[in-house]
């Protein structure tokens, strides 16, 4: 077996209190191979024959932050076009190559990366390596594919942003949280920008970012290392490395200096309150403590926000927090959907009171351990599957810049102390660095003025 524990702990069965071995003793290590082809393609792989399946992922280091100005939504539009026809494949053939052999595939676009992934029985690995190479080098970006997928994305915009009661709440919160960084542009884009796009724009975007030296192939599962290397050489090797430069976003989001308050309106029945703070980039050392703070605030029914606002005081129907890490600057988001008849001001005050508690006093050892247990168990569950292992490895390599962090991150997390949590809460959560958004129902207060964004989009 390739995954081994650094140190196995012994459970003493004779004592009821013996289940004390700390999880840090037992983290499985991923033994990965890391190679780079001459054309710049990075290939990370973990051979693990415990199940006759294999996960294949292509990580393209391009996300919505790379969308051209006034062309928001391009990275995501591309994710769609990559499932259309290529020189050698008909449209949607990737679906047939996976679903019809007992596997699955999908893709996702974020602010920083676009990921394509397949899981198939291991005897189909060569087929999928061929297919991923084929759609990197031979994608048909013609007017028909461009137009049909643009329509699909516009439909997705309507379904995911306009139609759901809190769709625009999430959309505004991220858009308003950054002032100059392209993270302010929504991944899904806007109807206007999508309509303004031309076929030439799309072709340019593809040739700029879809290239072997901007991609990482991750393969985890049941395969022979030499055979995998040979297949990768055979199918990816001939793809040329473009000579054009690979542009990178080079914009610094300035620190916030004053509180911002906004009110937006939507088709929701119950008001919602959102509060955001800027936090450092994903690879920053403070992110470990922030991640634990997030779980202490909202991980499960015994978490602080749930217990206080939902269970005890019934101010909110739902409450959540999320440490949304990004490659360059991250966002800590706290949201609450109000209970019937409650005031946003009261909910905001209660949310801020919970933040203040974390700044004023250190969390108890048992509360700290609970949060660590929750995070570690979630990670272990995610990494049980080949696909989950590949996601963790790809994230470490592409977003953290070091694949070996896949093996050290949980130990870093274990090392976080109560004092660390108090320190980061004081450092990043200040009254003059917060953005507060009230998202109120339209029907009840229809005459009040809408914000610029809202009136621009209409209803």
């Amino acid at each position: 077996m390739l995954s081994k524990y650094v140190l196995r702990c012994v459970i003493l069965l004779l004592l009821g209190s013996a289940y004390v071995c700390l999880a840090q003793d037992r983290m499985p290590q991923l033994k990965f191979s890391d190679r780079k082809l001459d054309n710049g393609l990075r290939v990370l792989s973990v051979a693990d024959s415990s199940s006759p399946t294999v996960a294949i992922q292509m990580w393209y280091h391009v996300g919505s932050k790379d969308d051209p100005p006034n062309r928001s939504g391009f990275a995501h539009l591309f994710e769609h076009i990559m499932f259309k026809s290529t020189k050698n494949m008909k449209s949607e053939m990737m679906d047939r190559l996976t679903e019809d052999v007992g596997g699955f595939n999908n893709a996702s676009t974020g602010d920083d990366v676009t990921i394509y992934f397949e899981v198939v029985p291991s005897n189909y690995l060569e087929t999928l390596i061929w297919a991923e190479a084929d759609r990197l080098s031979g994608l048909n970006i013609d007017d028909a594919n461009f137009r049909s997928e643009r329509d699909v994305v516009k439909e997705e915009f309507r379904q995911s942003v306009l139609a759901p009661p809190y769709g625009k709440f999430a959309y505004y919160m991220r858009q308003k949280s950054f002032t100059v960084h392209p993270y302010k542009r929504p991944t899904i884009g806007s109807i206007e920008d999508l309509d303004a796009a031309s076929l030439k724009d799309v072709q340019d975007f593809h040739s700029t970012y879809y290239r072997p030296d901007n991609a990482t192939l991750v393969v985890v599962g049941d395969f022979d290392q030499k055979q995998l290397d040979a297949w990768v050489d055979k199918y990816f090797g001939p793809i040329a490395k473009p000579t054009t430069p690979l542009p990178r976003v080079n914009v610094q989001e300035p620190a916030r200096k004053a509180e911002q308050r906004l009110t937006e309106r939507g088709a929701n029945d119950l008001p919602a309150v959102g509060i955001t703070y800027l936090t450092p980039k994903q690879a920053d050392a403070d992110q470990d403590a922030l991640r634990i703070a997030d779980v202490i605030l909202s991980g499960g029914e015994s978490s602080r926000l749930y217990h206080s606002l939902v269970y005890e005081r019934q101010l909110a129907a739902e409450v959540n927090s999320s440490d949304e890490t990004r490659e360059e600057v991250s966002l800590f988001v706290i949201t609450a959907v109000l209970s019937e008849g409650k005031k946003p001001e009261d909910v905001e005050r209660s949310l801020l009171a919970e933040i203040k508690k974390l700044q004023d006093a250190q969390v108890s050892p048992s509360e700290l351990e609970k949060a660590k247990n929750q995070i570690i168990t979630d990670q272990l569950l995610e990494r049980e599957t080949s696909n989950g292992k590949a996601l963790a490895l790809g994230e470490a390599a592409v977003l953290l810049g070091d694949p070996s962090r896949v093996n050290t991150d949980l130990a870093r997390l274990q090392a976080v102390t109560a004092a660390d949590i108090q320190r980061v809460m004081k450092k990043y959560f200040n009254d003059n660095s917060k953005l507060v958004l009230y998202y109120l129902p339209e029907a009840k207060t229809g005459k009040l003025e809408h914000s610029k964004v809202n009136s621009k989009e209409g209803k």
Partner: protein, 490 residues
């Protein structure tokens, strides 16, 4: 984030098969063919029975420091009393909501402190509670698991809370043609016999269930000699067995004899070619079901059956090929063969516009018939078998999936080693097996059709094909008995 539309017409045969056609082409132009599938080999699970009758099965797997444990009761929805449908389901859901020493909140808090999860529920033939935790936490997790299984209190306020939730969910389900069709299909196939009622209950039965009904079902079936504990993951067989003894060893077996759960082969199932229409004038679409008896889990034709079903089911299966891809009549069509302790159902279904209800019914029957009149050839069968093998293998990637598979084999008294034979068993099925299964076990003439939708739109067409159609207005629908009509229950 991606929601791509699947609109394309591609035949499986074309795609997966040209992989087999080893013509000399440029290596880049066609997908390289698959290698031979690899088989799997799991270590033999440790299997012992404690003096109180509890069977304890342990399957080791040390890749990841996680353990999953499932305590399974060998009865579920099939033991609901006739007028108390949903009783087993409510019982299983309530065990985690309070015990003699812990309240609902405390149970949640303690499990979250371990970083773990605790889930419970009832299915056909079994009820279960499962914990998943890091291996270092399994002792405490098993203590909580034993507590909720052995000492639940079924407090009236928790019973009321769950009843209300279930009623809300049921109200929603009964407004949707899809769930109405599913409920009606079960009544048409199984009548008043144990698999006939909705497993979650009916609005009438849920209102009748009392805390003492729940306690009675619990004391009758939640007993060690009617239970199986399956522990899987990063734990040694010895450790797991010692923990099982510590937390379940003193679980007393009641003195009254256990009613053995064996297949009766008398399911009361009827497959006599009925056509039932539930008229729901406000339905936006019609839901069409073909429903009939299938097989039980120990049937020697089990593998023939699941492969035959796979030929029909899935995006590239025959039903979707004919109904969606060739004719655009539905977003998706599929089928399921549910093998249980007794003979379970086979269903094929599709949702379509009201006007196409009769045509889709014809297509479902036609495709079922074609399984024997025009059985799949090898090149069609290969990818359909690959789908089964792929799904099976992926399920076994996790400790939870492994435990569920082993638990299911143990429940039906099958050899636990079947897990290692599954791939070969599927691979060995040939076209003649599918043909034989379809011809002998899925006869079209004894299959029933159920359509829920705006009858006006499809009834005239349906009447051209079937002489006897039972039309029931949705307002008259009664799921409490086989008659399906209000005021006609016996």
């Amino acid at each position: 984030m991606s929601s791509r539309l699947h609109i394309l017409l591609l035949s499986v045969v074309l795609l997966t098969v040209n992989a087999f056609a080893l013509k000399a082409q440029t290596p880049q132009a066609t997908p390289p063919p698959p290698a031979n599938p690899r088989t799997i080999s799991f270590p033999k699970p440790a299997d012992q029975t404690l003096p109180n009758g509890l069977r304890v099965v342990v399957v080791e797997r040390h890749e990841s420091p996680l353990v999953s444990a499932q305590l399974m009761i060998k009865n579920g929805g099939e033991v609901d009393p006739t007028d108390l449908a949903g009783l087993a389901d409510m019982t299983a859901n309530l065990i985690t909501k309070g015990t003699q020493s812990r309240g609902a909140t405390q149970i949640a808090e303690e499990i979250e402190s371990l970083g773990g999860t605790l889930e419970s529920g009832a299915r056909w033939d079994s009820s279960y509670a499962t914990v998943s935790v890091m291996s270092s936490k399994i002792g405490k997790a098993l203590e909580i698991l034993a507590d909720v299984i052995r000492r639940p209190t079924f407090k009236p306020d928790e019973v009321e809370r769950l009843r209300q939730q279930n009623l809300d969910n049921l109200t929603l389900a009964l407004s949707e043609p899809g769930s109405i069709a599913r409920f009606v299909a079960a009544r048409v196939v199984f009548g008043d016999s144990p698999y006939g009622h909705p497993i979650g209950g009916t609005p009438e039965s849920l209102t009748k269930i009392t805390p003492s009904d729940i306690a009675r079902l619990h004391s009758r079936y939640y007993r060690p000699d009617n239970a199986i504990l399956v522990i899987g993951g990063d734990i040694s067989a010895k450790q797991a067995q010692d923990l099982a003894v510590r937390y379940f060893g003193d679980w007393q077996k009641p003195s009254d004899p256990l009613i053995e759960s064996t297949a009766t082969k008398q399911s009361g199932a009827s497959s006599d070619g009925r056509v039932v229409v539930i008229d729901k004038p406000d339905a936006g679409q019609a839901v069409v079901y073909l429903a009939r008896t299938g097989i039980d889990r120990k049937d020697q034709d089990y593998f023939r059956g699941i492969v035959a079903n796979s030929v029909l089911n899935g995006y590239s299966g025959r039903l979707n090929q004919e109904i969606r891809i060739k004719r655009g009549l539905s977003y998706g069509a599929g089928s399921a063969l549910d093998a249980r302790r007794d003979v379970g159902p086979f269903v094929a279904s599709a949702q379509t516009k009201n006007e196409s209800g009769a045509q889709v019914a014809d297509l479902l029957l036609g495709e079922l018939g074609r399984l024997s009149s025009s059985p799949p050839v090898d090149v069609e069968l290969a990818p359909r078998k690959a789908v089964l093998i792929g799904n099976f293998s992926r399920n076994l990637e996790t400790a939870n999936g492994l435990v569920s598979q082993i638990a299911s084999l143990a429940l039906y008294g099958l050899s636990l080693d079947e897990i290692n034979r599954y791939i070969n068993n599927v691979q060995s099925i040939v076209p003649a097996d599918v043909q034989q299964f379809a011809g002998s076990r899925l006869d079209v003439k004894t299959s029933n059709i159920i359509i829920v939708g705006n009858a006006k739109a499809f009834l005239p067409e349906l009447q051209k094909h079937f002489s006897k159609i039972d039309v029931i207005p949705v307002s008259q629908l009664d799921l409490n008995s086989a008659s399906l009509r209000k005021g006609q229950a016996k």
